[in-house]
Structure formats: structure tokens, C-alpha cells
Symmetry: C2
Subunit: 193 residues, 2 copies
């Protein structure tokens, strides 16, 4: 699948703006013929330029295994229309699906994806931002805290809602971001009145 | 100033729920007679139990200096009514105020605070959650990434909006959280319709 036409490149020094407001994100990775995607509410920007970010990945996650093997991943920002996908991706194991159904989570759950520029990790369709990352190996952080640090090496956003370097959902409220509260319950964002 | 009467203790294993949805927060610290507060959009929970969290603190921040000296800090969640305070606390230096006005940022900017249970760091009034943290020293993370990790040792929330372990702003929309976008522009959160 090709990159959607509304998907524009974001200058690297603006990449932090894509998740400074605290959305729940999807993390994807691939290694050889294997790929996976998972939900991560615990993520944050870490630096402006070169842009870095941090994300918490549980040891049981198959996506984490693929990141450790491949050294790269994608952090992408899903929308309220993808709530079910985000919930399912966060509550099912790619390894279990692989063992039981002999296919990956994306195929089993009909999650469409396209190719990025610097990584084999799948870029999930219908998200509104994609940050391609090179893993900065920090074994102590990864083991002690499940904390992974990436350098953003390419960034993309949906031009319908990321304009002139800023989020603007006024024309497309259906593309607003998800913010996990607890137990599968989400908030979304809105303008301050 | 005493703790507000609506301020209830939150079980430590629920502390992560206070900022999983990605709010911009205030970080405060104190050392001997000095105290400071700063804004931090880049923060996230790091573990459930014992609860830990991570936050990015720029090297120029006086709050960071006080955290390094005292080994403790408070992460608190401000509301939309505190937007001006959050903007000002994020754009002024406590060290500059101390040098020029011979007082601290809280006094200079009329920011009221009360005492916590485990730390001398001030708990900022009119926030809706307060996480008292013990710094887990990680010199490499602090130097290389400005990344600070804390163990949450006491947690409090506003009982009007944190009920039965969950955020519920339906009765108090004026107490909703701030989510920094860029350039002093904020979103707030709302229920998914």
C-alpha cells in the first residue's frame, strides 16, 4: 500500500509537536518477515533537535522483541475513529496470534499499513502522525524500566489537521486524538473555549 | 496553608491513572529555604506498582537544581483555570527571579501551595492531582537526556473529579486538564461522544 496523498513530511525539528499534547499512540516494528503493532499510552517527546522520544514497552510485548532485534520502530498517533483498533492492539498479543493463527496481528485484525522511508516497521493507515525512529540502545533503561528511547529520523503527518507546524482539528473533529484514562476508557481533546 | 478538604489520598497502585491521559504538569521542588515550580509537558507514568514516572527537565531549570539537591519533587496536574500560571511558570526562571527580586517564583507570582507528606516540595493549590516523588538517581539519563525518574511515594487527587479510581469531569468541566500543543497554545480533554 502506498503512502496516503494527505501524508506530508514534517520537518524533524517539529516532530515533538506531534505528541506533546499526550495522545495514546501505536508502536509498530518489523524484523525480517515478522511485524507487530501495540498500544502505548505511556510515551513522550524527549528532545527537540535531533528529535528523540521515550516510550514504555512491557516485556511481554512481541513488538518490543521486534524492536530489540531490528533497532527501529514507528510511533504513530491514532484517531478517535480507531478506538476499537487501539483497544484491540493493546489487549492482544502478536506472539499468541502468530502461534495460534500462523499470521501477524495486522493481518489477523485487518490493520492496513504502508511503507516508511527508513524502516521496515509498518506505518498504520488512518493515523494522523508517524514518527520513524532509530532505537538508541540503553540496556539498563530497557531492562530496569521497560523504557525505550528512539531518535526520530523521519516524520509524517496528515495535512488535513497538521498545518504550518501545528495541530488544528477545527475542520476535522473526527481526526482528534485518543487519550487513555483507564480500563479501555478514553478522552479526546478539544479546543480551550 | 493546609491541604484542601477535597484533597483525598490516592492508593499508590492507582497513581499512574492521574497522568496516563497525557496532561501538561507542574513540577515543584524545594531545598532548605529555596523552592521553585516549572511547567513540564513531557512526562509519563513508567510503572504501576511501585509506581514510577518519568519527566524531562531542562538543564537551565532551577527546579531541576533543587531536585538534584533534595532528591524529591512533586508532579501535579493543573486545570484549565490555571492556564496563565502554567504559561508563566513555563516561561520564567526561578533563578532569575531569585537574583533580581530576592524571592522565589511562587511568592513573586502569587502561587499558593500547601505541604505534602513526604517532601518539602510545595504542592500547588488548585491543581487536581499531586504525586510526591522520590528521585531515583540515574546520572546518565539526567545528563544525556534531561530525563528524570521518580518513585511515587504519596499521591493525592481532587475528590470532585477523581472518583472510584477514575477521572470524571462531567460535573466539573472547569477542572479539566491542560495539554500543551506548542507556542503557549493548549487543548483540554473531553469525553468521547
Amino acid at each position: 500500500m502506498n503512502k496516503p496523498e494527505y501524508c506530508i513530511e514534517v520537518p524533524l525539528d517539529q516532530a515533538y509537536r506531534l505528541h506533546t499534547h499526550g495522545p495514546t499512540v501505536l508502536i509498530s516494528a518489523a524484523y525480517h518477515q515478522e511485524r507487530d503493532v501495540m498500544t502505548a499510552a505511556w510515551n513522550m517527546p524527549l528532545d527537540f533537535a535531533p528529535p528523540k522520544l521515550a516510550v514504555v514497552l512491557d516485556k511481554s510485548s512481541y513488538t518490543r522483541t521486534l524492536i530489540e532485534k531490528s533497532g527501529s520502530f514507528v510511533l504513530q498517533v491514532p484517531t478517535i475513529a480507531q478506538k476499537d483498533l487501539v483497544t484491540t492492539a493493546g489487549s492482544t498479543s502478536g506472539k499468541t496470534i502468530l502461534n495460534e493463527q500462523h499470521t501477524d496481528k495486522l493481518t489477523a485484525q485487518h490493520i492496513a499499513a504502508f511503507h516508511g522511508q527508513t524502516t521496515d516497521a509498518p506505518l498504520i493507515q488512518n493515523c494522523i502522525a508517524w514518527l520513524e525512529c532509530r532505537l538508541i540502545p540503553e540496556p539498563h533503561n530497557q531492562q530496569a524500566y521497560d523504557l525505550f528511547i528512539g531518535e526520530v529520523v523521519a516524520a509524517w503527518a496528515d495535512a488535513r489537521v497538521f498545518k504550518d507546524g501545528h495541530w488544528d482539528f477545527s475542520q476535522h473533529p473526527e481526526l482528534r486524538t485518543l487519550h487513555h484514562v483507564s480500563g479501555g476508557h478514553f478522552f479526546t481533546i478539544t479546543e480551550l473555549s
